[in-house]
Symmetry: C2
Subunit: 207 residues, 2 copies
C-alpha cells in the first residue's frame, strides 16, 4: 500500500479536491485525475484557471441576483423583456432551465435558496427583502413563483405569498403539471414551458 492510499501526494491532493464535487466519489475523482494527467498541460491549466476565475470574478445582478458579467444582468438590461412580470426562482440553474424553454419573456428574481429549517436556511438567508423592494416600486404587476413542488418549495411559496399579498400585484404559481416531489432541474423543457404558460393564481394551503 502507498502512504495515504495514492502513489503521489500531488495525485492524492488532486483526488481529494475533485471528490469534493457533488456526486463525485473517490473512484470518479481518480478517473478524472488520471484523465487530466494524459492531457496537454495547457488544457489542464485552462481548466484550473477557469475554475479560479469562476470563483473570484463572477458577479451577481444587483436587481435580480442572477449571475452576470456586469452589475446588471443581460435579462434585466434587455429592453425587449416584459418588465411587468417577475419570476421568482430558487437558483441560477432554474433561470437557465426556464430560459432554455424560450416560453418566458419577463424578468427573474433569484432567491438563492429555499426556506428549509432542516438545513438551517431561514427567510433572512434569501434575497426576499430585495424582492419586496422591487415589488414596492410598483413597476411590476405580477409575481410568478416557480419553486420546486417539495415541502420546502411549498413553504417558501406560502411565506412569499403572505408578504407579497400586501402589495397590489397578482401572485401566481407554476401550473401543476409537475409531479409532487420532482426537482425542477430534471423536468423536460416542454413540461416546464407549458407549466409557466398555464400558470394559475396562487391559492395558499389552509394551515
Amino acid at each position: 500500500m502507498f502512504d495515504r492510499n495514492y502513489p503521489s501526494i500531488i495525485l492524492q491532493d488532486a483526488v481529494d479536491e475533485l471528490s469534493s464535487l457533488p456526486g463525485v466519489g473517490r473512484k470518479s475523482a481518480l478517473r478524472f485525475a488520471l484523465h487530466l494527467l494524459k492531457q496537454p498541460q495547457d488544457n489542464v491549466e485552462r481548466l484550473g484557471l477557469s475554475l479560479i476565475r469562476l470563483s473570484k470574478e463572477t458577479r451577481y445582478c444587483k436587481l435580480c441576483n442572477m449571475i452576470s458579467d456586469s452589475d446588471t444582468c443581460d435579462i434585466c438590461r434587455d429592453a425587449k423583456r416584459d418588465r411587468s412580470v417577475i419570476c421568482v426562482v430558487e437558483s441560477i440553474r432554474d433561470v437557465i432551465s426556464i430560459e432554455s424553454t424560450m416560453q418566458y419573456k419577463g424578468l427573474y428574481h433569484v432567491l438563492g435558496g429555499i426556506i428549509s429549517p432542516m438545513d438551517g436556511v431561514g427567510p433572512s438567508d434569501l434575497t426576499i427583502d430585495q424582492l419586496l423592494k422591487r415589488v414596492e416600486t410598483g413597476e411590476h404587476s405580477e409575481v410568478i413563483m416557480v419553486l420546486s413542488t417539495t415541502m420546502e418549495g411549498e413553504t417558501t411559496a406560502f411565506y412569499l405569498y403572505k408578504l407579497l399579498n400586501k402589495f397590489p400585484v397578482k401572485i401566481s404559481t407554476i401550473a401543476r403539471g409537475i409531479g409532487f416531489g420532482d426537482e425542477l432541474e430534471y423536468t423536460d423543457e416542454v413540461t416546464l414551458g407549458r407549466s409557466i404558460q398555464n400558470r394559475q393564481p396562487f391559492v395558499p394551503l389552509k394551515q
Copy 2:
C-alpha cells in the same frame, strides 16, 4: 436565451472546461460549476491549483513508469518488496487497484496503454523496451501479465510473451477468475487479489 446559452462568459468557460472530464456532460458540468460558485474562494483556488500542479509537477518512476513524487517510486525504492517479480499492467490505475488488494508484494511495470490498432496504439507507444531492459538485467525471475481480458489485452499479452520468452524468466498471467470482456478497474478487490495469487503459466492462444 442568453448569448452562448449561459448568462455569463466566465460561467460558460468553466462549464466548457468541466465538460471535458470523462463521463461529464454539460448538465453535470453546470452542476459542478454552480456548486463551486457557492464554495469559499480559497477552496476553489485550492482545487484549481491542485489540478495545475498535477499536470505540471507530476513525475514518473524511471524504472517502472509509475506516477511518483520523485525519480524512483515508493514501490521500486521499498527494500521489503519482492524484487524477483514484475507485474506488468496497462495503467497507473491498475497499480492502485492491485495495491489495494494487499495481496501482491512484488514490483510493477506500467505499460502506459495496450496495443490497440483501432485506436492507433502500437507496441512502440508503450514502455515495452524499458520492460525488456529490466528483464535483461537478470534481476527478476518472473513476469506476471495483469491485463484486461479484452481482445486488446490478449493481443498485448501475446506480443509480450513472444518477446519475454527469449529470456530465462517465468511468464505468468492473472488467473481467469475475471469474466471475458470485464474491465480490471471495476473488478472487486477479493476477486482481483485471488486471481493474482492463483496466477497461471501463460499459454498463448494458437494463432
